[in-house]
């Protein structure tokens, strides 16, 4: 839908929804605000207003078009023409793991399960992935969007089951590494 059809898609201070999603994606990978502001010719005042108002527009959009497009643009953020050259620091291992979750659906689902199990146990799941696999949150979310748009309804159940199985495995690993659960000594 064009801006004329959906006025909520009109750019804010010259920053389109596509620009906004790409900025958010790059920031989540560790690229600095200063680099991004320089590339787009904006400053922190403009960015703060853009960041606030795009969020408010998504709230008022009952068609869900903005949220849907945002997800798609976030995934494509790595290739935004003005920002694609900007990369946060990464390790060789991190790059290898990033490529793996991009191409190996089962490995991606395993890390999703592990991340949830980490959160359930009080560990920052996103940080755990960064620390153990060198993949930052922004890159992980971009891959998540990719798998979401490629998901086939018929395959979905096997991946959900696989993720849940992995979540259960990690749900046992984390307590085992850190002293167990409070009710481990209670049995039927």
């Amino acid at each position: 839908m064009s801006n004329q059809e959906n006025p909520l898609l009109a750019p804010i201070h010259g920053i389109s929804l596509k620009d906004y999603a790409a900025i958010a994606m790059k920031l989540s990978t560790g690229v600095t605000e200063e680099e991004i502001f320089r590339a787009l010719g904006i400053d922190s005042v403009i960015w703060d207003e853009v960041n606030t108002l795009w969020g408010k527009r998504m709230q008022e959009d009952s068609s869900y078009e903005l949220v849907t497009l945002y997800g798609q643009y976030f995934m494509e953020g790595a290739t935004h023409p003005k920002l694609e050259s900007m990369q946060a620091e990464s390790t060789a291992e991190g790059n290898e793991n990033l490529e793996k979750i991009t191409n190996d659906r089962y490995f991606y689902e395993e890390l999703c399960g592990a991340r949830q199990a980490a959160y359930d146990y009080g560990i920052d799941g996103a940080q755990w992935i960064q620390d153990n696999y060198g993949i930052n949150l922004g890159d992980f979310q971009a891959v998540a969007m990719k798998w979401m748009t490629q998901s086939d309804y018929n395959d979905m159940h096997q991946f959900i089951d696989y993720q849940q199985q992995k979540q259960k495995e990690y749900a046992e690993k984390f307590p085992a590494q850190q002293g167990g659960n409070v009710a481990d000594d209670v049995s039927f």
Binding site: D43, S44, V45, W47, D48, E49, N51, T52, L53, K56, R57, Q59, E60, D61, S62, Y119, D120, Y121, G122, I123, D124, N181, V182, A183, V186, S187, F188
Partner: protein, 273 residues
């Protein structure tokens, strides 16, 4: 506890089924098991609540990530406790009932025995669930109680600093005209420099806490709707919640009003959701 074992009278008793010993055992152990799990929930809560309150108060991070991760961990333990109860219920209560009830004639004494066992154990399980939910509510309250304090701190900070901003170019004392929660331009009337005013990390939280605080202040109206399910009650809650939100973050009133219209339209279209 319903003492249905006494209903097995001598003269009318059918040949006792093989599951009778397991039946008695499961019933007794189920109650003891839930008692122990509830003790664990209470111990955990008594230890965790003061630490969570302290973490909330002492965490300088405006996003309270230390508190948040701690809360996740504590909730995770409650979920684990509940998961244990759920697993045993499925196997030793529901599973046992479903396996054996089909073998009894409908309305027979042993059929009724099994039904009473199931009802009694389910009743006890519901009490356990209520305790589990009340602990989770209390844990959420800890974070919620802090919202009002945070908001007052933001207002107080603004009063302290509003006349202390100086022009970066000429040093003239400028007044911050209102409570900003994002970086904003403040022009100097003397040298016409465009200054960038950056709010504190605390003030930047105003937009994030606005809706949560508004929902907290109008929670009683939402509970009233949940009790009577009258659409007019929900619409009243929605209007008052947004009114509170607009008082807290007046700069976003026009955007929030459009969001209100959208939520109202969604509710009227799908009232059961």
């Amino acid at each position: 506890m319903l003492d249905f074992f006494k209903r097995l009278t001598g003269s009318n008793i059918q040949a006792p089924p093989q599951w009778l010993d397991e039946f008695r055992d499961n019933h007794k152990r189920w109650f003891v098991f839930l008692d122990k799990l509830e003790e664990k929930m209470d111990e955990l809560g008594r230890a965790a609540v003061p630490e969570l309150i302290a973490a909330m108060r002492e965490d300088a991070d405006p996003y309270h990530r230390v508190h948040y991760n701690m809360l996740l961990g504590v909730k995770g333990q409650y979920h684990h406790i509940r998961g244990k109860a759920q697993q045993v219920f499925e196997e030793k209560v529901a599973g046992f009932f479903n396996f054996n009830v089909g073998q009894q004639a409908f309305g027979s004494e042993f059929y009724q025995l099994l039904q009473d066992f199931y009802d009694d154990c389910t009743g006890r399980y519901e009490t356990f669930e209520e305790k589990y939910l009340s602990w989770l509510d209390l844990l959420d309250e800890i974070g919620a109680q802090d919202l009002e304090r945070q908001y007052q701190a933001i207002l107080h900070e603004y009063e302290e600093i509003k006349d202390r901003f100086c022009c970066k170019q000429c040093g003239a004392q400028l007044s911050i005209p209102k409570l900003f929660f994002i970086n904003s331009y403040i022009g100097c009337p003397y040298c016409h420099t465009q200054n960038t005013f950056e709010p504190s990390m605390q003030a930047k939280q105003l937009e994030h806490l606005g809706r949560s605080l508004a929902e907290q202040r109008t929670k009683h109206l939402l509970k009233a709707y949940e009790a009577d399910k009258n659409p007019a009650s929900y619409e009243r809650y929605l209007r008052e919640m947004f009114d509170e939100w607009n008082k807290i973050v007046p700069d976003l009133q026009s955007q929030n009003e459009r969001f209100y219209e959208r939520m109202l339209e969604d509710f009227r279209r799908y009232p059961s959701l």
